[in-house]
Amino acid sequence: MFENVIIGQYLPGRSFLHHMDPRAKIAAVLFLIIVIFLVNSWNGYALFGAAAIAVYFLSGVPFRYIRKGMFPVFILVILTFFLHAFFTREGDILFSVGVFSFYEEGIRQGLFISLRLLLLVYFTSLLTLTTSPIDLTDALEQMFSPLERFKFPAYDVAMMMSIAIRFIPTLLQETEKIIKAQTARGADFNKGSMRDRMQAFVSLLVPLFVRAFRRAEDLAYAMEARGYNGGEGRTKLRLLVWGWRDTLCCVLIAAFGVVLLFLRQ
C-alpha cells in the first residue's frame, strides 16, 4: 500500500556511501543544496550530472528503486518547467503555439529549475536511503550541539526526531491494519460517494489517533520508569567515527564547489 514512498526510507547495504560518517553526508548534501542554486551554465549542470552519476555508483542503490521514488517528483518538475516556459518573456521567441509564445530564456529557466529540483530530491533521497534514521539523528544532534550554548535543546530535539522516525513504520503498519479491518467490514476508501468516502476515512482516522495517543502515553511511562530525565550526562552506545572516506568526501566536495564557481557565467 505504501510501497512507492521512498523519501525517508532507509535501504540497508554495505556501499561506500553506507560506510560514510552521517555527519559528512549531511554536510555534503547541505553544501550541494547551496551550490546548486549558484549554478547558471550548461557546463555547470553537466558537471553536476556527472557527479550525480558518480554518486549513484558509490551508493549501491538499485536504479529501479530510485526511478520509482523520483516518479512523484517528476510531476512537480514538469509543472514548474511549464510555468517558467509560459511566463518568462525574455530573449528571442523560439516558436509559438496559438496565443502562446515560447521564449529562449523561458525554456532555459524552465530547464534549469527542473534540473535543480531533480538533483535536489535525488541527493536528499540518497542521503536517507544510505543512512539509517538513528545515524541521521545522532549526527544532527552532534551538529546542533554547539547551539546548546544559546539554549537550543539539541538533545531533546534529536530525541523527538528519533522517536518520530521510529514510529513511522509502526504507524504505517497500524494504518494498513485498520484499513484492512474496515475494508473487511465493507468500507471503501477509493470509490463511492463523497459521503461514503468521508465515513470510510473517519473509520480509519479515529482508531489511528486513539492508538497513537495510547502509544505515546505508554512510551512516556516506559521512559520514565527507566529513569529517563533528559540528555544531561548521558553516554552513547553507538559512537560516530570519522574516517578517511569522510575527509576525502569533504575535500572532493569542496573542490567540486570551486570548479562550479569557475563555470559560472
Binding site: 510501497e3 528503486y65 473487511a184 467490514r185
Partner: protein
C-alpha cells in the same frame, strides 16, 4: 459456501529489495459450514492465506474460488466487493477497529456498508449483544468507555452483525487471559452451531484448534506442510515439534494413557471426567487390563 485455493502464490513488495514470497503454491479446500484451523508460527503465511478469501490480497498466481466466484490477480474490484459482502473477518485485537460514537452505530457500520436491511438488523442488535455476552444497555454507550474485554466483544459483534456465510478468525483471542480465551472461543463455537458459517480460524495455539476444528492445515515457510483431521495431525508429534508446535496438554495426557494401558480413546476431545468414565467402562468390560 465452499472456499478453494488452486496453486495460489503471493509475493509481497514485488520488484523491491524487500520482495518476499509469502505463499508458495497453496492448494486447500474449506468445505461449506465446516470449521477449519490454520496453524503455524508467526510469519508462516497464515494471515496472508486467509486475506485472499475476502480479496484484501489478490493472488500473484493461481485462483481462489469463493462460492461460485473466482478471485485472480486481475479480478475487478466490483467482483471483489461482491465476494467481500459474504465474508466476515475478525482480526487480531479487533477492538482497534471501533470508531463510532455509540456501540449501536459501530455495530451497524458493516451492515450499512454491505447494503443490508439496516432497520431489520437494528431490531436484532439486543439479541446479538447477548450472544456475545454483553448487556443490551451498552447500545447507547460510547465504545471507548468500555473495558478492554467488552470492547473486543463489541468489535466481534460488529463482524457477526452481517451474519457472514464465511467467518474468518485471525487469532481472535490474542492477548487475553486463559479464561477470556475460553469465553471468546465458546462464543464463536455457539455462533457456528447456530448459523453454520464456513469457519476458518487462525491460531498458533494447538489447544484452540483442538477444541474447535474438524480439519487442520499446518503452515510453515509459506507452504502447507501438513493437513488432516486433528487426530491425524497429533499423531505426528515429532514433525510438529520441528515447527515449534506443541500438542495440547490434554491430548498428550490421553496419548500417554493410551501408550501405557493399551486403551484406544474414540477421540481426544474428551474432558478428563469423560475420559475417566470411558476408561473405567473399558476396564469393567475387560477390554483393557487394570493398571
Amino acid at each position: 459456501m465452499d472456499v478453494n485455493f488452486q496453486n495460489v502464490s503471493h509475493v509481497y513488495m514485488k520488484k523491491t529489495p524487500f520482495e518476499t514470497l509469502a505463499l508458495k503454491n497453496i492448494n486447500a479446500c474449506f468445505r461449506s459450514s465446516s470449521v477449519t484451523a490454520v496453524i503455524g508460527r508467526t510469519g508462516s503465511g497464515k494471515s496472508t492465506l486467509v486475506q485472499h478469501i475476502n480479496g484484501l490480497l489478490k493472488p500473484s498466481a493461481g485462483v481462489v474460488t469463493v462460492g461460485g466466484h473466482r478471485l485472480e490477480a486481475r479480478t475487478k474490484r466490483k467482483m471483489v466487493k461482491t465476494v467481500r459482502s459474504h465474508v466476515g473477518m475478525v482480526f487480531q485485537y479487533p477492538e482497534h477497529q471501533l470508531f463510532e460514537e455509540t456501540v449501536e452505530k459501530d455495530l451497524l457500520f458493516g451492515p450499512k456498508n454491505k447494503g443490508m436491511d439496516v432497520a431489520e438488523i437494528q431490531k436484532k442488535l439486543p439479541e446479538l449483544l447477548q450472544q456475545v455476552g454483553l448487556s443490551e444497555t451498552l447500545l447507547e454507550r460510547s465504545p471507548f468507555e468500555l473495558s478492554g474485554g467488552q470492547m473486543r466483544r463489541v468489535a466481534i459483534a460488529g463482524v457477526l452483525a452481517t451474519n457472514p456465510e464465511i467467518l474468518i478468525l485471525d487469532e481472535p483471542t490474542a492477548g487475553l487471559d486463559p479464561q477470556g480465551q475460553k469465553e471468546i472461543l465458546e462464543l464463536f463455537m455457539n455462533w457456528q452451531r447456530a448459523y453454520q458459517p464456513t469457519t476458518i480460524m487462525i491460531t498458533h495455539q494447538m489447544e484452540e484448534a483442538a477444541a474447535f476444528a474438524e480439519y487442520m492445515y499446518v503452515m510453515e515457510d509459506a507452504e502447507i506442510k501438513m493437513q488432516g483431521e486433528p487426530e491425524a495431525i497429533y499423531a505426528q508429534r515429532e514433525k510438529l515439534q520441528e515447527m515449534d508446535l506443541d500438542i495440547p496438554e490434554q491430548v498428550q495426557v490421553l496419548q500417554q494413557i493410551e501408550r501405557d494401558s493399551g486403551i484406544r480413546f474414540p477421540h481426544y476431545k474428551l474432558s478428563p471426567a469423560e475420559a475417566a468414565d470411558y476408561w473405567e467402562h473399558a476396564v469393567q468390560n475387560g477390554d483393557v487390563p487394570y493398571v
